[in-house]
Symmetry: D2
Subunit: 413 residues, 4 copies
């Protein structure tokens, strides 16, 4: 049936995580009309008019390294973060159980100790990266077929891997292929997943700070194959505010002397980040935009992330901005952001899925630069100011809108 | 001499106020190379490349209702707010004494009790508004002649007057002219000053929330005469941040439920605002942009201003933003802005002078819409988002830059 | 049965309010072992060792002017404030329904418009205060008998009444009696309830800022009759912090120049307080301790309360303390308190019930000064510093403990 | 002359630091009646009535490892922190120059790299600790004689040394003496200074987190010799607030889940602390009181200190307290402390000098436990709550007051 054939599948890496669970609960609740669409950028004008897939029509599956199911995970969220109401979960308990059957065991190769501790069941057998990728790819493929999906979008929501130093292996396609075959290679899981996705022709979105497809070799392949992809690291809270506020100081010629951010959080992500190397990966991304907006000259910045278990999903950030105005007078601004991380991330991830689905249907491939505003470190986009990034999306939407009203020529590729 | 003939005069209403004093101290310090230009928007690219008058070349005078001189006023700032260094004031003591001689007694007609309390010396004689305007206008005129200025820009920095209810008198030119002649009329001082300025052909900038030229009848006259003018209420601190942050919530489809702001300040402005009616005028302006950006639907906003003497010029604001995200989860952001008001306002006022001077030289008249980003309630401009307003200025600058590089035709007027 | 005869009844004025509902839900949950005792001062040493009544053994009833029942009220809290978990409410649904049957219609005489708006059903018939008191008293009496209570403690949790100006009527017992009989008298409901309670020999606790028993004439009667009573206004959040922090500045000789507090809240209490006169009653109490701790000299304080509906029960307060240290240097401290009001108030009210019950059993009558630390304006206690007030309670507990270990003489009454 | 013979000398280790400079400027300004005594605990009742030495009568000298003089140091403070007014410094310029002549070169043995970088001039010659101590002691002795002091109080204000692991060398007097003679020993400078002071019979106060006299062996010697001494680490800001607030949560049975503190500062102390091991020493002291007040059970705490140069002396701290109340509801409190460190520390150091001088005159020796409230880690006092510590001082003052009014017997030693 044509209806069935046009379904869009979503394959989530980290399928039992808090963000993934919130996505699935949210979609099922919206489908039933018992939840609103606040937080979804794609439900605002003009984005809601460009023919995006309905969130209630998405089909979910994914990889996970922990045990359990979505219902259990949702109830844990209700109990600990008190964010999703218990009654809402009860109302979607049946589909959560159903979707849990589409979850397969993933891989935690070279993810660092903090992540590997989460691994459930028998230890992962050592395999060459390419073998792992083939197995993962086959599972994605089977999911799409089983559910009659015309396309499957792969979304990385797994915990942050340790920061990887720039490495020539990843710059060069040949080197990368060798690494894939090398049983001793240290290719991290996120790269293997990204390889599996793109190799299978599946659009790929990296919502985490992990490498994923953001390496020159991966980008080359994806572009060559015309697979839409974008990353890295969803811009959900403190960094969003930074990229909104910093251009104000610049525009007003108020010299920012210091901008320090202190982030505390208590979810599984926080636990993984409390590990030094994983923390570094995150901190690097959070600070970068600031330096690009304000310039390096005399600017002091720092970002700290501490694990505070009692906060659970309520990521809290305190930022202190010290700036110099007229006649050298030092002034300050401070803000405290208290956001429920999964509730901020889930709708953005859904936005990305819908927009990537559209890009795919419109025949667009390679890096989706117009999605830059969703990411802390948008691959291939140098503009760091939020509103300028958002303008890229608005322009895209306006152009899509125009295309809808004019007879379409066949897509160019 | 052509040099002398092209000097730009600046006539400040409220010439001994904290902002006015900071402007003069700053210009003299910059001229001597002992202070930098932080806080001046016009010292950033591309604005600094469009041929603006040097701040060190401005000539100052003004009206004031209090007694004293600029040196005394500067020392009071150093002592109370500890913002301007004592040694900087000593270095410009001589010019401060000199400029103080160019200050004349202003008017406080219908400014409300809080302002009239500040009046020094013998009580103001009751006069018809038109007589007051003629006297004020003659003093501005004489200042310009005495100092060989080719133009005098009039800048309103006087304390906020009580809010005035919409009044048909101000809508209609005929009614306005009658009010000017009526000894019983309640035309407030700011309108009389604005009338005097525009009648004399002097560009006029209203940095305060008072009415000034922002009444339909005034705008008509100014436009008819081709006099450049703009207002109202400099956007220096908390309101600036609001107009930067609010569009972020809108763009992210995070439903703002409540946005409350609590402002405390201790300078003369605060003292005047502690009076109910004057407070109202200010509060109304601070809240307006928010409602226009976020929409009225279900939004609760409030702004409080309290007078806290010990803060002196250190205006401190706490804002609490309560918003709803995915699945109805309520989250919050709060910020504290601690700015030294005069240090924020003075460079912006200088920016406005320089840009108005340029407009005047370029033969532009009427409302200067491209200056919207400097104001809380930009007359005639409906765009409330800061960065969109700032784009208007950037476009203007780029266009001015292009004009500079192409042979100029004679200005159109 | 002796067990039945020694039961302690609790009669709550404002029985369907958020605090009352939380008290009942909490007691039922603790009784069933499905909730802990955090927040209960009487569960810490040495207070937990002095033979207090178990919270699970209390019997509840009360007066209310709104319609509805406790289960409905509890579910409203779960839905709006997301504070009480839905599953906890389900577990105690049956007793909530049962206790709701013990709620009678109260009075809203002279409570001001904001409170009278809440009145459900047919308008209250105008009656002389004494008649109202007799009716209310009879209902309390009947509740006690029906439930086999050896004593009934009356607890005022009703919304704040408008501030009442000092009034000689309340100073003099004779005048007070006349007012009771006078159909034109303006005696507010809280005074009538307090009269009814004390006249019936029931210990009386006023957790609100309303007058209640805190008038000289009432105190005289209670003392004469040996009825234990105490008030006013539970010290739950911001004021608690103030009474803890202010003595620090005093001890360190840091001169507090200004202390301003900005409180926002969205529950029914907030709605009532948004009305000017009711607000005044509250603000006066919140500010008093500060002036008594820090002295009047040169101190500027202010307290603002604004109604912000979206916050519901999450009372949020921002306090800014400006102080002067060595060599006149001005420094500051600011804090934000984000507390769920009912969750803070309910355990304190339970503490007061337990301690009043003990006092009653020990034959203590009149003002219970050792309970001062629980109140913003402890009647008859001038000590404003929290820890000094808390020491009074600790001393009392130690003395009670000593009495327990020594053979008791018969109580004096 | 008897007047001269009773003068009290103050020997400051770190004599050109910001706190030392502020102390000297302050004393000279108070002596001349051009500054008040805010911040001095000893100027409040009853402490100001117990016959303490006048701050204007103190005589200053000290050791320092950097070059320069007090006037230069004071002007640097005025320029960078804008805390001391320039005009105040000019008024005491002459005595600052005079007192600078009493500064001698100290030692930086085993102070860690961060401190040794500050060393001016030719590198310090390697000497045995005992030799260094003898030289330092002789200089203190000579200062006292030269200025006719009847006693010299030694005050450690030098930068924080790296944390030292518990070491049996310091537990045992014999081992300690060997270490003093050992050219290879790693005894840090603070211990050498403390040895020199106590060996010379000079009362010793350690206002820093460095070891100083706080090692068992040192304490034994001081006690044996009857030399008054006390330490460690002045409690000036965030830690003070912690030790005031934490007991409130305890008293209210609000379970603190997490208490995290983020400190940023930019003075020389901050620079030294940015070095890992020095930082650790500080952090350990800041956190200890919290755990002792609240208990270990389930409590998560952390303290971060970051160096933010632009803040200079304006130490800013953000603390977030996450606590659980009734029915498991999580609530929070956050505070921001913005204090000028030297302005807070200087008067406390003066308080300690005055009180130590009194103890010395009253013949009291050994640990001065009644000074506990001034320290983060009061040696020998286990009580962590601020107000309880302060009560020790009040009791001492009351007892001293009583002694003054009764005929004194000869001191017991």
């Amino acid at each position: 049936m044509s209806k069935t054939n046009s379904r869009t599948g979503v394959w989530i890496i980290g399928a039992l995580g808090s963000v993934a669970t919130t996505i699935v609960v949210g979609c099922e609740a919206i489908r039933r009309g018992i939840a609103g669409t606040a937080g979804l950028v794609t439900e605002t004008s003009p984005l809601k008019e460009i023919g995006l897939v309905e969130v209630g029509d998405l089909v979910f599956g994914g990889h996970e390294i922990r045990e359990g199911g979505l219902l259990e995970s949702a109830r844990e969220i209700a109990r600990n973060a008190r964010s999703i109401p218990e009654s809402l979960i009860s109302a979607v308990a049946a589909p959560l159980e159903e979707i849990s059957k589409e979850i397969r065991t993933g891989t935690a190769l070279h993810c660092g100790e903090s992540i590997q501790k989460l691994w459930a069941g028998a230890p992962e057998a050592p395999v060459r990266p390419v073998e792992a990728a083939e197995r993962l790819g086959a599972e994605i493929e089977a999911f799409g077929k089983r559910n009659g999906c015309s396309r499957v979008i792969v979304l990385n929501l797994a915990s942050t891997e340790p920061a990887v130093e720039p490495n020539e292996v990843y710059d060069d396609l040949e080197g990368f292929r060798k690494a894939l075959e090398d049983p001793e290679s240290s290719l991290p899981a996120s790269v293997i997943y990204a390889y599996a996705a793109i190799q299978g022709g599946h659009p790929y979105i990296n919502f985490t700070p992990s490498l994923g497809a953001s390496i020159p070799a991966r980008i080359q392949v994806a572009d060559a194959r015309g697979v839409p992809h974008m990353g890295r690291d969803g811009k959900t809270g403190e960094t969003l505010v930074k990229s909104v506020l910093a251009p104000m100081f610049k525009a007003r010629n108020l010299k920012v002397l210091s901008w320090v951010g202190y982030n505390i959080l208590g979810n599984r992500d926080g636990e993984v980040l409390s590990n030094g190397p994983n923390n570094l990966a995150k901190v690097r991304d959070k600070d970068d935009a600031l330096r690009r907006i304000l310039g390096e000259d005399g600017l002091h910045t720092s970002v700290r992330i501490d694990y505070v278990p009692s906060l659970d999903d309520w990521k809290t950030a305190w930022d202190f901005v010290h700036f110099e105005g007229f006649l050298g007078t030092k002034m300050s601004m401070q803000f405290t952001w208290q956001g429920c991380d999964s509730m901020l991330a889930a709708p953005l991830a859904l936005d990305l899925i819908r927009l990537t689905d559209l890009a795919s249907r419109r025949g667009e491939g390679g890096l989706l630069g117009h999605l830059a505003s969703f990411f802390k470190t948008p691959t291939g986009v140098s503009e760091p100011a939020y509103y300028r990034q958002f303008d890229l999306l608005l322009e895209y939407a306006r152009s899509a809108l125009k295309d809808m009203s004019t007879p379409r020529k066949a897509p160019s590729r």
